[in-house]
């Protein structure tokens, strides 16, 4: 191009030398200016690129601060895993709720503000003002932790009010309210499990939070998402419990009815599947609603306790089937063997202890001892066993140690160690004295009689867990009785219901087998027993030929003047629970043929 310019110039020089010379100088100048401009532009661009790199790599403090105000890191909250019953019904779930808050710093007149908020949203203006006055320097005063639907609608319709806003937060809800309240437990404000299953499975129920970084404009509106720093939240998988809320409702309704009828202070019901150890229902009376506002008063703390596993009691006659079955298996007595239980109902043991029977059984068979719940008969046969054999029988059924159900607060119960046995122990233990058990232990041990002699481990988790290997799918059985001994005991326990102390549990629909018990309540402060305080209990299974459920019903401290025998206060409730549960479970009713109609029954008086 330069060569062509020179040729042109040469041609022009020939024509007019002065003009050509001027044109050549001008062209050179343009060329130099052009080159300089290109160089300047290049330098500016290079400088710009260097600056961009510097700003990206190591921005100055002031710019970094500005960038920070435009970046917002948002924690994406994971959903706490739901608790489901065995049918998939939601027992505990997490969802969002709005809380109403105020920033007092931007309120000009708290009095007018409180009145406006109060009258618009249905709060007491004086209380709102009081809340604002309590924390005048705070920028965040919560007026309502959880707006109900009605107030949420009112707030949305309310014209914007400076200083008043809502915040979305996660809340835990228990749709079944007080049903299984003590078992489910509750969470704290931060969503951490504090009691019951919420606490036990806190780790499994807690998800992994995610995060997202927004770039915002000057008005704080989100512009775009920083893709590289986006981590999605991982919600926790729901946990399926072995509880069936329909069976739970049946159990709680019948328990409450029995407790009201007999003016009892407390009661428990456990419904178990004897073959798997799954707990289908676990009811406590009085109940506890995890949705209710909690107060840490001693009364409420006591109410939250799942007394099915945390409290022990002296079982009384309900304990007899275990000693009876073991003595039969060890050959200490034969079911048809006759035992003299005395016609007076009084017998003095070789250790000079006087034993009484509430209803003298006279001379009866070993089966009759259990049917009529004779203390004397039990003591006479127990004396044929070695102390060690008797002690081993108790521990074999799992008494004196936790059932390993994993339920929070579960205690071991008390079995007197061999070295502390007195000469009374051999005759006391067979009738359920000198021993303390939880309702869970008794019900679990009864499962062994129902399932052919295998001690199951109770579990609160269903076998089928959604989407993963179930922690409840591992099952361990410990054989404590031969199938024959278990079968024999069951058939005698059936007679307890048809002709013995448990007649009020006799059903028209299913063949129920069970045992009643009435025990005094120990006085923990002074020793001995509390006067007039009893636990009436009944533990049973059904149907006889193929037991599907075992029900333990325990009624504590019926009111003064009320009947306190297990056969009267606990057996009818247990019968109703068995009938309703088996119908619900799809077990076809099979009217038992071995018994007279319940309408022909005479009143059962005792245990």
């Amino acid at each position: 191009m330069i060569e062509r310019t020179r040729d042109t110039l040469t041609r022009k020089v020939r024509a007019t030398p002065d003009k050509v010379f001027d044109d050549a100088r001008h062209a050179d100048r343009v060329l130099i200016v052009g080159k300089a401009l290109v160089a300047l532009c290049t330098m500016a661009l290079v400088g710009l690129i260097v600056r961009v790199v510097m700003l990206q790599a190591d921005p100055p403090q002031s710019i970094a601060q500005l960038l920070d105000t435009q970046r917002t890191r948002l924690v994406l909250r994971p959903r706490r895993g739901a608790l489901l019953d065995r049918q998939g019904r939601i027992i505990a779930t997490t969802h969002t709720a709005e809380s109403l808050f105020v920033d007092p710093a931007i309120i000009a007149d708290p009095n007018t503000f409180s009145e406006r908020v109060g009258y618009s949203l249905g709060y007491d203006p004086a209380k709102v003002e009081q809340m604002l006055a309590r924390r005048p320097n705070s920028r965040f005063v919560v007026i309502d932790k959880r707006l109900d639907d009605e107030r949420e609608d009112l707030f949305e319709k309310l014209p914007p009010l400076s200083g008043l806003s809502t915040q979305t937060r996660l809340v835990r809800d228990y749709p079944f309210g007080n049903l299984a309240g003590q078992i489910v437990g509750f969470v704290g404000v931060d969503g951490q499990g504090l009691d019951g299953l919420e606490r036990l499975f806190d780790k499994q129920l807690t998800g992994t939070p995610g995060s997202i970084v927004y770039f915002r404009d000057a008005k704080h509106r989100p512009l775009w998402v920083d893709q590289s720093s986006y981590t999605p939240p991982e919600d926790a998988t729901p946990l399926r419990l072995s509880l069936d809320m329909t069976v739970q409702l049946i159990a709680e309704t019948e328990l409450a009815a029995a407790c009201h009828e007999f003016d009892a202070k407390a009661g428990q019901v456990i419904v178990m599947d004897p073959t798997t150890g799954e707990i289908l229902a676990m009811a406590n009376y009085p109940d506890f609603d995890p949705n209710a506002k909690r107060q840490a008063t001693p009364d409420e703390i006591a109410l939250r306790r799942n007394r099915c596993v945390t409290d022990v009691f002296e079982p009384g006659s309900i304990f007899k089937p275990f000693v009876w079955s073991m003595a039969t298996q060890l050959g200490a007595a034969n079911p048809s063997e006759t035992i003299d239980c005395t016609t007076s109902g009084v017998w003095v043991t070789p250790a000079k202890r006087v034993l009484h029977d509430a209803h003298p059984a006279g001379t009866t068979t070993w089966a009759g001892v259990l049917i009529h719940s004779s203390n004397i008969g039990m003591a006479k046969v127990a004396l044929r066993l070695k102390e060690q054999q008797l002690h081993d029988a108790l521990t074999a059924f799992g008494f004196g140690e936790s059932t390993r159900s994993g339920l929070p607060g579960e205690v071991d119960g008390i079995v007197t160690p061999m070295k502390k046995w007195t000469h009374y122990s051999t005759t006391s233990t067979p009738m359920g004295q000198e021993i303390a058990v939880t309702p869970m232990q008794i019900t679990r041990a009864f499962c062994a009689l129902a399932n052919g002699g295998n001690l199951v481990h109770p579990t609160i988790l269903a076998a089928n867990q959604p989407g993963k290997n179930s922690p409840g799918s591992v099952v361990v059985y410990e054989r404590v009785l031969t199938p024959e001994a278990a079968q024999t005991t069951r058939s005698v326990l059936r007679r307890v219901v048809t002709e013995g102390t448990g007649r009020k549990a006799n059903s028209d629909l299913y063949a129920i087998f069970g045992k009643t018990g009435t025990a005094q309540i120990a006085d923990r402060k002074k020793g001995g027993y509390l006067p007039g305080a009893f636990v009436g209990s009944f533990v049973c299974g059904a149907p006889l030929d193929r037991p599907r459920i075992v029900v333990g019903c325990f009624i504590h401290q019926p009111g003064e003047g009320k009947n306190h025998y297990g056969g009267t206060i606990a057996a009818p409730a247990a019968k109703r629970i068995v009938e309703q549960t088996l119908i619900y479970l799809g077990v076809t009713p099979q009217p038992p043929r071995d018994t007279i109609s319940p309408s022909q029954l005479v009143r059962a008086n005792g245990d």
Partner: protein, 111 residues
């Protein structure tokens, strides 16, 4: 020469405008993504709320109350299906283990 410079500048301008347009599109797309994220999160939370409402509305006692209020005299369940999913022995792994190791034909060890 001027024409060439002009053309060069024009080319640069077009390039710059194209780049800026692309950048703007990218920002708008990111903004859309941000809104979608927000929408997804909101929809997720709405699903939770709906689940809770359904659970509350279908709670056993509430159903019983509703049936009573409606005066529906339902026939009692006398012969339910023993092979309903929850009662079916074969669907419960624990039962299976028990039957395999302990019981015979669904019966506990009864001689």
């Amino acid at each position: 020469m001027r024409t060439k410079l002009l053309l060069l500048s024009l080319a640069f301008t077009v390039l710059a405008v194209a780049l800026l347009t692309r950048r703007q599109q990218r920002i708008e797309l990111s903004n859309q993504i941000a809104r979608f994220h927000h929408e997804i999160d909101r929809a997720r939370q709405e699903t939770w709320d709906l689940q809770t409402r359904i659970a509350q509305a279908s709670e056993s006692r509430r159903l019983i109350r509703s049936l009573r209020e409606q005066g529906l005299d339902l026939e009692p369940l006398t012969a339910p299906d023993p092979r309903s999913p929850v009662n079916d022995l074969e669907q419960n792994p624990l039962k299976k283990v028990f039957l395999e190791n302990v019981g015979q034909n669904g019966n506990p060890q009864i001689p």
